[in-house]
């Protein structure tokens, strides 16, 4: 099962490597990771999506993360109300599937941010569920490029 956890960490050289190598050394699976500074420039926030087969492994992941000296706090969103967002950028060829494109652009989470002769760059900012939904229908389009940020989250 996928769980969203967040780690507040010291904004220092090498902390990302410590977190990443903890996951690989212990055989935990990260499905996405988003890192950025918080309002306090000394603290970064990592939002991590992990696959944990059961509660025990999830517990271990949280404890192991917290054990890292540079990790200040670990928050598990599993049983909390929270909002989340992920950003996806796609570069699509305009000529094909004009109708489908129009339908996609009608979605309020979707915005065209760059338009050129042959292609458009479209921004989709939505919660994970919606992003996943849109991601699935994208195979209809001729896509030149696609990038995703990984999810960020905040407790309500």
């Amino acid at each position: 099962m996928r769980h969203t956890i967040q780690a507040l960490v010291e904004n220092k050289f090498g902390v990302l490597a410590r977190v990443a190598s903890l996951f690989s050394a212990r055989g935990y699976n990260i499905s996405s990771l988003a890192v950025g500074e918080t309002q306090d420039p000394a603290i970064s926030c990592m939002t991590i999506l992990v696959n944990a087969e059961d509660e025990r492994i999830l517990e271990q992941i949280k404890k192991q993360l917290y054990k890292l000296i540079d990790v200040i706090k670990v928050i598990d969103f599993t049983r909390r109300e929270y909002i989340d967002r992920e950003l996806m950028l796609i570069k699509v060829i305009k000529d094909n599937n004009k109708k489908d494109l129009k339908k996609l652009e009608a979605n309020k989470s979707v915005r065209t941010i760059e338009e050129r002769k042959n292609y458009k760059i479209i921004e989709i900012c939505a919660d994970q569920e919606e992003i996943e939904g849109i991601f699935k229908i994208l195979n209809k389009f001729e896509i030149k490029e696609l990038v995703r940020t990984g999810k960020i989250a905040m407790a309500k």
Binding site: V9, E10, F13, G14, A17, R18, S21, L22, A25, R56, E59, Q60, K63, Q64, Y66, K67, I69, D70, V71, I72
Partner: protein, 563 residues
């Protein structure tokens, strides 16, 4: 304002502030400034091994035998990578170490410079924490933090990687008084609610067993553990790391559990209705098949490291805290009149003890049984020597047959199982305890992994007694091959050197014992010697360590010892 010092001097002054009296280390290009500042210093004794791995194991043996932080130094690149086995060894066994490594000039880092290795990357997963100091202004603070981290909470090795140019720069030196790490606050006392919950289980238990782990040694809780066990009248089994945490001479003592544990310890765990584990992380060598481990028992787990709890074994009452404090809390709260009558449990254990004693084949006339050597050393040292072991059969025989009554006297690489650990660790222990008898129980294979440290003995006149249990093979692997691989002795027979001559070549006394009838006298001579001795005992070659739980089996399914 403090006075201006060079980086290399700042290190040495900081080490002194931390109370460091001894350093083990090896020079090299990136630590020349450090060694220059150390030159002629009277307050810190320095020991030069013949290999960096020797240095780190010596620092480890120093730490294990005293509880103090061990310090070792090596140069960048190969010097640092040669430390890694020792760092990993200390990490697995929670031993407080500070390892200082030289690094190439700050401006060259990342350029594949001569003798450059990414030490931070390499040691990340085998150390408690590590630091690359790029700014001399951070140096004193970093050393303060490193010692604090190494010695508090669940102790462990901390690496400080120090570029050579930082060692040469100057800065005001003022050693910080305090460390404030907002992200590191070990829990030292047990939660009162959990203590209460534990009491409820203790009052109900008819068949309790205490597992004394290495945490008891680390937190110097042997007295508290003994008091606690005696108050609840529970039998105690001590893990390899916990040997000496509970006196072996005590009636409540069950010996070691697990793969090469006693039959009665394993039977007791299997039938127990309550397991109280103190500072033991339920390593697979202890649990065997997890499903078959203590199937009837509720488990109370005391550990300072929350990640150790419910990692391998599901626990009913976790208590995070320092063993010494938590045991104190528990013992104080226990009301003796609430404890049930458990004499039938003790009767049962007594019956197991007499039916399945820890023993070996004593009948062979002219063959030297390795267990006999250990028993004899134990008898002649009255169980008071510091025993360092290598890894394999020698380690298990020492753990089984030497009776440890006090902590900090058994030095062995438990978690990582590092061959080549014991001999240098013994040197470190002797440096820390010059008045104590220090004996290495070695195998002919392991001893050769750091045999070069014989030179260190001679250089400094350190008296360590090396007992080689020589069976001309890598005995533990050979044992597995015999039992599980149809005696296909692949890569385990050893063509050994003449250990007596090798010792003599290094200027160390060497002797050989081939007959059982000479063992007693030889051990007397070895122990009475004021100098180091390397003793090559030719033991029964195909002797096995029994009892034995095959890997992946439940711990009550033992081979040997159950006849």
């Amino acid at each position: 304002m403090g006075k201006k010092l060079k980086g290399s001097q700042i290190i040495i002054e900081s080490l002194k502030k931390e109370g460091v009296e001894v350093i083990f280390g090896y020079p090299g290009g990136s630590v020349i400034p450090f060694f220059d500042s150390l030159y002629g210093d009277k307050a810190i004794k320095f020991y030069l091994p013949r290999h960096e791995q020797g240095a780190v194991h010596m620092a480890d043996g120093y730490a294990r035998s005293t509880g103090k932080v061990g310090v070792c130094v090596a140069t960048s690149g190969p010097g640092a990578t040669n430390l890694t086995t020792g760092i990993a060894t200390a990490y697995m066994d929670s031993i407080p170490l500070v390892a200082i490594t030289g690094q190439v000039k700050t401006s060259l880092i990342g350029n594949d410079a001569f003798q450059e290795a990414d030490v931070i990357g390499v040691t990340r997963s085998i150390s408690k924490h590590n630091y690359l100091v790029k700014d001399i202004k951070d140096l004193a603070q970093t050393i303060k933090e490193a010692f604090y981290l190494a010695s508090t909470g669940r102790p462990g090795p901390v690496v400080i990687d120090l570029p050579v140019d930082v060692q040469m720069q100057e800065a005001e030196f003022e050693y910080p008084e305090k460390v404030n790490l907002r992200s590191y606050k070990p829990t030292l006392f047990g939660h009162p609610g959990q203590i209460k919950k534990a009491l409820k289980f203790i009052y109900k238990a008819k068949k309790p067993v205490v597992i004394a782990g290495g945490g008891i040694i680390t937190s110097r809780a042997n007295k508290e553990a003994t008091e606690f066990a005696k108050k609840i009248n529970a039998p105690v089994t001590a893990t390899l790391m916990g040997l000496g945490g509970f006196p072996a001479r005590d009636q409540l003592y069950l010996g070691m559990p697990g793969m090469h544990g006693t039959v009665y310890a394993n039977m007791a765990i299997t039938e127990a209705d309550l397991l109280i584990s103190i500072g033991c992380r339920f390593d697979d060598r202890i649990t065997g098949k997890v499903k078959g481990f203590a199937p009837e028992a509720k488990i109370i787990h005391i550990d300072i490291d929350p990640t150790s709890i419910s990692k391998n074994i599901k626990v009913d009452v976790p208590i995070v805290g320092d063993a010494k404090n938590v045991l104190g809390q528990l013992t104080q709260e226990i009301d003796k009149k609430n404890l049930p009558q458990i004499s039938s449990w003790h009767k049962k254990i007594k019956a197991w003890k007499s039916k399945y004693p820890l023993t070996y084949n004593k009948g062979k006339k002219d063959r030297i049984m390795p267990q006999y050597i250990i028993e004899e050393i134990c008898r002649q040292t009255k169980g008071k020597a510091i025993i360092a072991t290598e890894v394999g059969q020698n380690q298990m025989w020492a753990a089984q047959f030497y009776k440890f009554n006090q902590p900090h006297h058994f030095l062995s690489s438990g978690g990582l199982g590092t061959m080549g650990y014991g001999f240098p660790a013994a040197i470190g222990a002797k440096v820390a305890n010059p008045k104590k008898e220090v004996v290495v129980i070695a195998g002919d294979g392991s001893f050769q992994m750091n045999i070069q440290e014989l030179a260190t003995l001679t250089t400094y006149g350190i008296a360590v007694k090396v007992i080689i249990l020589n069976n001309n093979c890598l005995g533990m692997v050979r044992q597995w091959q015999e039992i599980f691989y149809q005696r296909r002795y692949s890569a385990t027979p050893l063509k050994n050197p003449d250990f007596v001559k090798v010792a003599q070549g290094y200027g160390v006394k060497g002797l050989r014992v081939k007959k059982k009838s000479s063992v007693k006298k030889a051990i007397k001579e070895i122990l009475e010697s004021k100098e180091s001795v390397v003793a090559d005992f030719w033991i029964e070659e195909e002797e096995n360590v029994f009892p034995m739980v095959p890997a992946g089996e439940a711990i009550n399914r033992m081979i040997g010892g159950m006849a």
